[in-house]
Symmetry: C2
Subunit: 368 residues, 2 copies
């Protein structure tokens, strides 16, 4: 279940107005399977989403009833380090995981609505100090904080929240008050990245299906109405029929949009690429061999279409990571792997060869 | 549809004893979406498998009726280079593709039976010269060639066939005779690589599902009978319940078997790794952070379990390619991407950065 699907499940549960508990990892010391911000929604014996690789879920589910009875948020910490006999051997990690459990309430609805509509937002939740545990604020980059929080707190949280949101990260921020420190868990929640697949061949669906599994928002673009019906791409979030020269007019290409050009028609591909280099798109994956792209560059030169080095650095052709295999699904797999790495700003390598931690750490500026 | 699924479809069609045509790419000049050996089975208006990214399928399907009427194999060549107005603009490639169409017959059954039972085999098919077009031989590494072929031809084909089979490649071999040259399309058809997933947590299924899509033969290994029923891993080809110390006894680990260790139990993982380093397995992906593996190495040292550099070079931890993302499906995606790259002997990188052709070319020794 993807993060977006968990948020949708939260929205549906709110709509049904039933009792449910939201569990969120708010801190990890050492390493763990999931990062802070990972969520599990618990309704009765059912749950959606996960906090770990199955080691804490039962334990946390077991607490949901108490949380609902108490009608209060609570925080549980699980020491999963090797020194702890109860949990230490159970996990593929050495971490100490802190989980916030809270009765699900309307304070989460704006988050669901914002993200499922393709927007990013911040969520701030008091986890310690001289404010009510679980007190929540919603941060919209345009309208700033929801007005249920005191102004001085919003003032302190504005910069760290904006910074974390920019990077889609989370952190706990300590806000000094006259009576001590208020600890606030700040989440930057990003809408899923957009993947636009330009093409209508039978090789498109494997790409769409794999991309959905790693939580891309997928739009298929077909030309001249070819196969433009959604039925042909059942897994896609949207299907647009347009013309190669009008791509830019019909779809919003921002810097979190990644594009795969696979019409298998040389002229259509060329026109699409010509459109796309005028967008902020950082990934233009082009199906076909290097020679084909060189022909394309010659055509651009003939028609004095200017292609800068920055443009060509955004064009990946042959498309995909070098994983070998040449069946349609293996090709699709290598394409989506490449889009995922670029969307996450990673350079493909074995994690065992990566220097430093698997998960980027970032410095969060605190307001003075 | 994976290569293995296409072979299974061929088997089912043979069982039903109905008319069908098998189309096989036997040559590609330049580059193309699929490689020689790619197959499409055509029965009436239905087909299974693909030769291109949808550009030639209709054309080839249209010829199936003629092939059945003639009751004879035929060869069609499609020039998809940019200079050819009919096809040139249609393809994401610059290649010239040659396709063998033949009425499906029993000569393919041993191939289906061999490969679907996990064995590799060679297929030789006469494509030109002073022998019947489509004349076919079956090559089993143990029993050598089927006896329908003349001995002198088998003699000539033995070494190239064995070489191509070793690498799972195809090539056309020219055999000199008194009357000229007989051209033979030689396919080395490998059974799918084996992926063994050691674990039983909820994070196992996403790995199994993705691995099946890229045509691994997937076995899930659980310990102490935990979740050992196949129902828990519906996509897996097999589920084995064993004990961490007996893995090696219960499953055959050859050098085309790749193993993911994700029990999330430190001791189980350690015992599994201890078993696995005594096998020829070239990929032991271990879930968890580097520190956890270092603890494991200390335990090995304490128990004077010898771990050579070759052993550690086969252990990949943290597991997976660095694609970013930390939802269970994204983690699973990076794991299967790593297993796929290792199984195909590729080092992960953007194809656009790869030197030389996407598809390895190999030299095939000819018999004197």
């Amino acid at each position: 279940m993807t993060e977006t699907e968990v948020l949708s499940a939260i929205g549906e549960t709110l709509d049904r107005d039933v009792d449910a508990v939201l569990a969120t990892i708010i801190d990890v010391e050492g390493s763990a399977y999931r990062r802070p911000g990972a969520k599990m929604l618990i309704e009765g014996d059912d749950s959606a989403g996960s906090l770990t690789a199955g080691c804490l879920e039962d334990e946390v589910r077991g607490l949901a009833g108490d949380v609902l009875d108490a009608g209060q948020p609570r925080i549980e910490t699980y020491d999963l380090t090797g020194d702890d006999d109860i949990w230490g051997l159970g996990m593929g990690c050495n971490g100490i995981i802190t989980v916030l459990l809270e009765p699900l309430d309307e304070s989460y609805r704006p988050v669901v609505e914002r993200v499922t509509n393709g927007g990013d937002c911040g969520v701030v939740t008091v986890t310690d100090g001289d404010r009510p545990l679980g007190e929540r604020g919603f941060y919209d980059p345009e309208t700033e904080f929801s007005d249920n929080l005191p102004g001085w707190l919003c003032e302190e949280l504005r910069e760290p929240t904006a910074t974390l949101l920019e990077r889609g990260k989370t952190d706990t921020v300590g806000v000094e008050t006259d009576d001590g420190t208020v600890e606030v868990f700040v989440e930057g929640i990003e809408a899923p990245s957009n993947l636009v697949v330009v093409g209508s061949g039978p090789d498109v669906n494997p790409v769409v299906e794999l991309a959905k599994q790693v939580d891309f928002q997928v739009t298929v673009v077909t030309f001249r109405g070819a196969l433009s019906s959604g039925e042909n791409f059942p897994a896609a979030d949207a299907v647009r029929a347009t013309s190669p020269t009008d791509i830019g007019d019909n779809i919003e290409f921002d810097d979190d949009t990644y594009v795969i050009v696979m019409t298998h028609n040389f002229i259509d591909d060329r026109l699409a690429v010509e459109d796309l280099i005028d967008t902020p798109v950082q990934y233009i994956g082009l199906m076909g061999p290097q020679e084909r792209f060189e022909e394309m560059l010659e055509d651009f030169a003939d028609e004095s279409v200017e292609i800068t080095e920055d443009d060509t650095s955004r064009i990946y052709t042959p498309i995909g990571l070098d994983l070998g295999g040449d069946s349609p699904h293996q090709i699709a797999y290598s394409i989506v792997a490449e889009a995922l790495a670029i969307a996450n700003n990673r350079s493909p390598q074995h994690l065992t060869d990566r220097e430093g931690p698997i998960h980027d750490r970032i410095e969060v500026p605190l307001a003075e």
